[in-house]
């Protein structure tokens, strides 16, 4: 990750894409969100969703994975140029998570992150808080999920 000072409000980055298959959806949901419309195609067809849909927590978790993979790529690029990369700290949480549209089996979701807020924090020293708006868009260009995730990021060393 770039250092806190080098991150600009409005900076946007594509994080990657994920295809939600039937097996993928069921594997997550059987373990962590076994509501019928996530694990049973026939029951899902009878529900108001009309077909099998991914757990909203699954679509959020995939975004996290792509964010971390992107962050590693950026860190590797910086390191290859001989520049230091900033570490990420443990997030205090998120807000305004919206499951706007269902994610159906077969959907391909493209995720992106945009910096919307930066907050100087006093403790711990050497870190600042950056808020990213994460967004997932399906193959029809419809936003299916968004949330605002606060991430502690290292400040440039003195």
């Amino acid at each position: 990750m770039r250092f806190f000072e080098d991150i600009g409000i409005g900076d946007r980055r594509e994080l990657g894409r994920h295809s939600f298959t039937v097996d993928d959806i069921k594997r997550y949901a059987l373990r962590y969100d076994p509501q019928l419309f996530h694990v049973d195609e026939a029951a899902a067809a009878r529900s108001h969703f009309g077909a099998l849909i991914a757990s909203g927590w699954h679509t959020a978790a995939v975004c996290m994975r792509l964010f971390i993979e992107t962050e590693r790529r950026i860190a590797a690029e910086l390191t290859a140029r001989g520049e230091p990369a900033a570490k990420l700290g443990p997030s205090p949480g998120f807000r305004n998570l919206r499951w706007l549209k269902p994610v159906y089996a077969g959907d391909s979701i493209s995720y992106a992150g945009e910096t919307i807020e930066k907050r100087e924090t006093e403790s711990p020293p050497g870190w600042g808080l950056v808020v990213f708006r994460m967004r997932g868009t399906n193959q029809d260009g419809t936003v299916v999920i968004e949330f605002e995730n606060a991430v502690p990021i290292e400040r440039r060393p003195e």
Partner: protein, 153 residues
């Protein structure tokens, strides 16, 4: 036939559901797939981070709480999904071996104006560890079918 409908959630009520023990294998397995940061994968590397030792991904805590909520009452309810989560706070690390439970408080209830067969219930969900500490807190609306709509068919 669901056991719980919109009408069964009373503002101010508090209930507990759980528990579930989180293993090291599960923590590392989830993190490897969804949150591959060293603090969630490796004890040695995690010691050098602000978490001070291996801890579950916050998104793993969310997944565990959803499972506890599903087993606790959602699977037996007329749940129609949720529009999202207003706010979620990761307050304390979840360590291998922690035993987690959920405390649910009903904050408010209101019938949907656009779809009167459905109602919104606003909950605070707290994920508690074996010491009674709140490790995670979530506030969100969940939509439920109304018993009144069901019986009038």
């Amino acid at each position: 036939m669901p056991r719980f409908y919109y009408e069964d959630f009373e503002q101010g009520s508090v209930e507990r559901f759980g528990s579930r023990t989180v293993t090291r294998e599960e923590i590392v397995g989830f993190a490897a797939e969804f949150d591959p940061q060293p603090m969630h994968l490796d004890e040695q590397a995690a010691r050098r981070t602000p978490l001070g030792g291996l801890a579950a991904s916050g998104w793993h805590s969310c997944a565990i709480m959803m499972r506890l909520i599903a087993d606790g009452f959602i699977l037996e309810s007329s749940c129609m999904g949720s529009p999202g989560v207003e706010e979620l706070k990761w307050l304390k690390p979840v360590r291998p071996g922690d035993r987690l439970a959920v405390r649910r408080t009903v904050l408010e209830t209101r019938v949907s104006k656009s779809r009167p067969a459905m109602g919104f219930v606003r909950f605070r969900f707290e994920l508690l560890n074996q010491n009674g500490e709140t490790v995670m807190e979530q506030t969100n609306f969940i939509m439920f079918g109304r018993r009144a709509a069901e019986t009038s068919r």
